[in-house]
């Protein structure tokens, strides 16, 4: 939200229209996901069933968000395609591969927390993108977009890491997505070792992302106060 008030200063290119449509669809989609998680699941006292209630819906919109990597790659948005890919891959890995394989973990409290946190974050982020594109973004939403992450981010990371950790025993028992020696090309891959490495790398990686979000927040929110 740059505070532009005159809509005739904006050029509605195909790309921009596409982004508006995409962000609106995602905003609605994740709203549905949140509805599936919270009222349907949690308020009924059924937090073990959040994945069962909302899982399929979340999978759809998470899959669709792969488009964001394309947006970054073609320059439609200013983000780095590598970062976008890493974030999409990280979440998809947990949702599809880890949770998909480790059935018992699907009904764990942390899995529920993770899905709720994702939905809450997206329900703020996508409307903010969509409204920013039109230039009519309420300051309150901008504040929310740059503040909600402060509790949600750490909560989400902890939930994701716990889910991965809890799934390890199931992944190892099923020997999933793994290749063993000996073979002609001398390749081996152990998915459970991969997840363990990911767990080690997650903390410093997300810590540095968190600090850069805090810095961006200072710039976006702090600067506005000075200008006013």
């Amino acid at each position: 939200c740059s505070g532009r008030t005159s809509t005739d200063r904006m050029a509605w290119s195909v790309g921009k229209v596409h982004l508006l449509v995409y962000n609106t669809v995602q905003a609605i989609g994740w709203g549905l996901c949140l509805h599936a998680c919270v009222p349907a699941g949690w308020l009924r006292g059924d937090h073990h069933g959040v994945f069962a209630q909302a899982g399929s819906l979340i999978k759809v919109f998470q899959l669709a968000s792969a488009l964001e990597v394309v947006h970054a790659a073609v320059g439609l948005v200013p983000s780095s395609p590598v970062m976008a890919l890493m974030q999409w891959a990280g979440r998809s890995n947990v949702l599809f591969l880890v949770l998909g394989a480790a059935q018992p973990v699907q009904s764990s409290p942390m899995a529920a927390v993770m899905l709720v946190v994702w939905s809450m974050s997206e329900v703020i982020r996508y409307p903010w993108y969509a409204l920013s594109l039109t230039g009519h973004c309420p300051a309150a939403l901008t504040w929310l977009r740059y503040t909600a992450f402060i509790p949600l981010y750490p909560l989400g990371v902890v939930a994701e890491m716990t889910v991965m950790y809890q799934s390890l025993q199931h992944l190892e028992a099923k020997k999933l997505y793994s290749v063993h020696l000996p073979n002609t090309f001398n390749f081996a891959f152990s998915y459970s070792i991969f997840i363990k490495v990911l767990l080690v790398v997650y903390l410093p990686m997300w810590f540095s992302l968190y600090s850069s979000l805090l810095r961006a927040r200072k710039k976006k929110l702090g600067g506005k106060e000075k200008a006013a």
Partner: protein, 307 residues
């Protein structure tokens, strides 16, 4: 003249007294004396931006060899300083990042009972494992040799985080490649394949050394600025040194027929390709054929016939 050195936020970190014939190097020393934290290699001194500059204007960076008079500095002049953070010498970083692979790779060859617990090694070790060890060791010894006796670095120092990052890359990949090359369950390709591939790879290594020698002799002592590389493969390829390196690792991969070695080769190739594109662009920009300058000849960037 008296000069005041301040940070971007406006805080004065040092006040020094020098004359117009003093060099920037001496200026940095004086700043360091006045401010113990700012070791000369950490200082990036710039002239304040002139009036009317935009956010895009790049400030003039003071070069070590020039004098204060060269920059028109007078009594009362202000200079900006940026703290580049803790620095470490180029050669130091290069040495440690190459020394690691020399130590790490042989560990898996020499200590199978320790590093592959519970797996019985075969009665006869495949020949290629020994050849690969020799090739790998030669490669990194050559790199250390070049670090101290061949390369002429464009900069003295780099930020200390680079040491951590570069060592993580080299040592990490050394362990990854070596673990699979020297695994008791390793499957060797036909011996002829390994021997021929490594022989050709050796040729690439020697060519790469020749390329480095050419590059190192491009500038005579005291000369600054870019020169057009020529001779040997440089007549056809801008970054012929990378060409040899990439081919060398590709042949190593063929010799050991292992995916981890291939991944290592691929990652290195991507990085070198990025550097090659930058170098090629830079040289084309400098040697544009205008105002009496030479025009950079049509050449491959790194890997004929692809780019």
């Amino acid at each position: 003249m008296q000069l005041q050195i301040k940070t971007r936020s406006g805080k004065v970190v040092a006040t020094v007294h020098l004359d117009a014939v003093s060099t920037v190097r001496e200026l940095k020393k004086a700043v360091h004396e006045s401010n113990k934290r700012l070791h000369p290699s950490r200082q990036r001194l710039t002239l304040p931006l002139p009036a009317g500059s935009t956010a895009q204007t790049k400030p003039t960076v003071l070069e070590d060899g020039k004098t204060l008079g060269d920059y028109g500095l007078k009594d009362g002049s202000l200079l900006n300083v940026k703290d580049l953070g803790l620095q470490i010498g180029y050669s130091t970083v290069f040495f440690w990042e190459y020394f690691g692979p020399l130590v790490v790779y042989p560990l898996f060859y020499a200590l199978p009972h320790l590093l592959y617990p519970g797996v019985t090694p075969p009665a006869q070790r495949p020949l290629v494992q020994t050849l690969a060890l020799a090739y790998w060791s030669f490669h990194y010894s050559k790199r250390i040799f070049e670090t101290f006796l061949v390369h002429k670095f464009g900069h003295d120092t780099m930020p200390i985080m680079n040491l951590v990052r570069n060592c993580a890359y080299y040592w990490g990949f050394a362990a990854y490649v070596s673990y699979f090359n020297n695994h008791p369950l390793y499957t060797a390709p036909p011996v002829q394949q390994s021997v021929v591939a490594l022989g050709l790879a050796m040729l690439c290594q020697l060519s790469n050394l020749k390329c480095h020698l050419i590059l190192s002799n491009l500038r005579k002592p005291g000369e600054k600025g870019y020169k057009i590389p020529k001779g040997f493969l440089f007549n056809y390829i801008t970054c012929a040194n990378y060409t040899c390196e990439v081919l060398g690792w590709a042949l190593f991969t063929v010799a050991v027929q292992a995916v981890p070695a291939g991944i290592f080769a691929l990652v290195g190739t991507v990085q070198m390709a990025q550097w090659a594109i930058q170098k090629h662009k830079r040289l084309k920009k400098v040697f544009d054929g205008q105002e009496g300058r030479l025009k950079y000849p049509r050449r491959w960037i790194m890997m004929p016939p692809f780019f």
